[in-house]
């Protein structure tokens, strides 16, 4: 089984199932976000992956890192206000840091490895990014 693809779905489902987070954003996107997607949003990017094996090539888990961030589009003419970006990042952290869970195919534990903030200008618009790099260890059931 491909734990990485399953873990991606797990993350999206966990974030989308939270009413508090969904009250702050318009959606959760994996890797690519279309230009017309309504913001603010959560975006998940895959950072790295490695497998842990023991004897007989038994796979203990897939050791994955994902950058999970809130994205807020900010009107460039005004001074930046990080309140919403922070609120989204805080909620992401509440959901994913020190988290253990299972679904029908996967057993997962996750924690934040480092925080992340950034700002980018794309297409003339200013975007505020806040979130973190989360280590997700996924074991196939």
């Amino acid at each position: 089984m491909n734990e990485e693809a399953a873990a991606q779905d797990y993350l999206v489902n966990r974030l989308e199932a939270d009413t508090n987070l969904m009250g702050l954003v318009n959606g959760v996107w994996l890797r690519s976000m279309p230009g017309l997607a309504p913001l603010p949003a959560v975006k998940i990017d895959r950072m790295d992956a490695a497998d842990l094996y023991v004897v007989n090539l038994s796979r203990v888990w897939a050791d994955l890192t994902f950058l999970v961030r809130g994205l807020v589009k900010w009107p460039s003419s005004e001074a930046q206000d990080w309140t919403l970006a922070r609120a989204i990042a805080d909620r992401i952290d509440a959901l994913l840091h020190d988290h253990e869970g299972t679904d029908t195919t996967l057993q997962v534990h996750a924690f934040r490895e480092e925080s992340f903030t950034d700002e980018t200008i794309e297409g003339g618009d200013l975007f505020l990014h806040a979130g973190g790099v989360y280590r997700v260890r996924a074991h196939a059931l």
Binding site: D48, T65, L67, F116
Partner: protein, 132 residues
């Protein structure tokens, strides 16, 4: 006639051996890190059709540390590679294509492996310790 016992400390040799092994492992870390990062950067850029004029380089820093870094050039930004983080981490509309992070992980493994393989033997050779 009384026998004399001579006690000789060979700890300086142990210390030197440890220093040499770390230096060796550090160079292996740099080599592995730059190779992996360059490979990932070029292959991902090619897959996505990015014409990135960038290369990953490595250098020893500090007492026994090292770093790998991006050396890039663009007609707009010159040799300042600040924009390369947008590819490593992605942006709102660019998916991340990490190359430094996976390279560092692989290089860390190499470092530990070199230390594990070489440290004991180097200490024994340097300090002239023989197995009994």
């Amino acid at each position: 006639m009384a026998k004399r016992v001579v006690i000789e400390s060979r700890f300086p040799a142990v210390k030197a051996a440890a220093y040499e092994t770390v230096a060796l492992a550090r160079q292996a870390w740099i080599d592995q890190g730059t190779d992996t990062a360059n490979e990932r950067l070029q292959s991902q850029a090619a897959t996505r059709g990015y014409a990135l004029s960038a290369v990953i380089e490595g250098e020893p820093i500090g007492h026994q540390s090292a770093r790998i870094f991006v050396a890039a050039h663009s007609s707009k930004w010159g040799t300042d590679p600040w924009f390369m983080r947008f590819f490593e981490y992605g942006t709102a509309y660019i998916p991340a294509m990490p190359f430094i992070r996976p390279a560092a992980r692989k290089a860390n493994k190499t470092f530990v492996q070199v230390m594990g393989d070489d440290l004991d033997g180097r200490i024994r050779r340097r300090a002239s310790v023989r197995r009994r």
